[in-house]
């Protein structure tokens, strides 16, 4: 392992909050905006992306010594596309309605920059153990971000969470939150909030 590369524990922790793929790196915006209207599709997407990321990271890390620099992106894409196709077929077989609800967003995991960036930044350079920790950390960070967005949107948009009513019956469901503008509004506000907390934390540590 290269001396300056982060350890498995550092990779794991970094992915959850300090380098959160959505709130800190703004990666994977397509599913972030598209499938966070409710918790169920958001969590299915988080698990599907996590599975692909984990498998791709492990595979790329295993063959990292054989990668040719000019062919590495091709190998990453081939690997990611394979695991995305497997995920798509598994969803169609066992979660058919959810597979239909997610529609093209499952195949679109192939172009989620989060996965290819982790293959490039971590898996192609570090051991399998570190690549697994990196994938788990990033997947948790991705799931956390999707869950936060979906929670806000589902609770305000439908008065429910995972389909269970959490707001009073009299709650006037804010339809806009379930629609694309609601996704942009929520993402913008939560990004601002995370940035504000980050600033405050940096200021207090400098003081």
């Amino acid at each position: 392992m290269i001396k300056d590369e982060p350890t498995a524990a550092e990779r794991l922790i970094a992915g959850i909050l300090p380098e959160n793929p959505i709130y800190r790196q703004l990666l994977g915006m397509c599913p972030t905006l598209a499938v966070t209207g409710a918790m169920e599709p958001a969590m299915t997407m988080a698990v599907a992306t996590g599975f692909v990321l984990l498998c791709a990271n492990v595979m790329v890390s295993l063959i990292r010594g054989l990668l040719r620099p000019h062919l590495r992106i091709l190998v990453f894409t081939l690997t990611i596309a394979t695991f995305v196709t497997i995920t798509d077929r598994v969803l169609a077989a066992y979660l058919y309605q959810m597979s239909k609800e997610l529609g093209p967003y499952v195949p679109l995991i192939i172009v989620n920059c989060l996965i290819i960036s982790r293959c490039e930044i971590c898996a192609s350079k570090q051991s399998v153990g570190v690549a697994v920790a990196d994938a788990v950390g990033m997947s948790l960070g991705f799931a956390l971000a999707l869950a936060s967005l979906a929670t806000v949107r589902e609770v305000l948009g439908f008065g429910t969470w995972f389909g269970l009513r959490v707001m009073p019956e009299s709650w006037p469901a804010w339809g806009i939150m379930a629609l694309p503008p609601g996704a942009f509004l929520t993402l913008g506000l939560l990004l601002g909030l995370v940035e504000w907390f980050g600033l405050r934390k940096r200021e207090s540590s400098e003081a």
């Binding site: 990668l67 040719r68 081939l78 169609a92 093209p104």
Partner: protein
């Protein structure tokens, strides 16, 4: 670079392509029947919505001979009273992004389109994906099968015209094209079948 050079450069890509291809074939072989079963169940569930009066428990799957010595799978939509209500044609064709899979409901004489249902599509979200939405599918209802469907970008002025979805003209044309091909291929065989079943 000579051929040996290319292979020495790309051997890993070639090997992975074979390995992944094999793995995907295995996955498809294992899960394919289950996915097909899910799709069949969905088909039976939507048949009453595209052929009004049909009862999904009475619906029968048939194979029809079409031109060129080929065969095509269709569903005979039967009502709760045992009367034939119409036909459902499962079909598919190229869309803007990927294959579009459709169900087309016809009346018992195969002269009127009773409805369509998009089983599967991967068109552009928010644009082409609206082919699954009710307003677009509703446009196909009650159109006679004696005229080819035509997609227009303005207000339809004839019974065989379908208004294209804004920003998704190709997806709209794809759906109309798939319906046209299926109707052209199966209209007569279904009319013959209807007659022979009557007799």
């Amino acid at each position: 670079m000579n051929k040996t050079g290319y292979i020495s450069q790309a051997w890993l890509v070639i090997l992975l392509a074979f390995l992944f291809g094999g793995a995907l074939a295995g996955v498809q072989r294992t899960l394919g029947p289950r996915i097909a079963e899910n799709q069949r169940n969905e088909t039976y569930d939507v048949i009453p919505s595209i052929v009004p009066g049909a009862d999904k428990s009475q619906t029968v799957e048939l194979t029809v001979d079409i031109s060129g010595g080929k065969q095509h799978r269709v569903y005979e939509a039967i009502g709760a009273d045992g009367q034939r209500m119409g036909w459902v044609i499962p079909t598919h064709g190229p869309g803007f992004a990927d294959e579009i899979r459709l169900l087309i409901g016809l009346d018992r004489e195969a002269t009127i389109i009773m409805g369509i249902y998009v089983l599967d599509q991967k068109e552009t979200p928010g644009l082409g994906a609206l082919i699954t939405a009710q307003p677009f599918c509703e446009d196909f209802k009650h159109i006679p099968t004696n005229r080819t469907l035509e997609v227009v970008t303005t207000e339809p002025t004839a019974a065989n015209q379908i208004e294209a979805l804004t920003g998704a003209t190709i997806s709209s044309q794809s759906v109309a094209g798939i319906v046209n091909s299926a109707v052209k291929e199966l209209k007569e065989p279904l009319q013959h079948l209807n007659q022979s079943l009557k007799n």
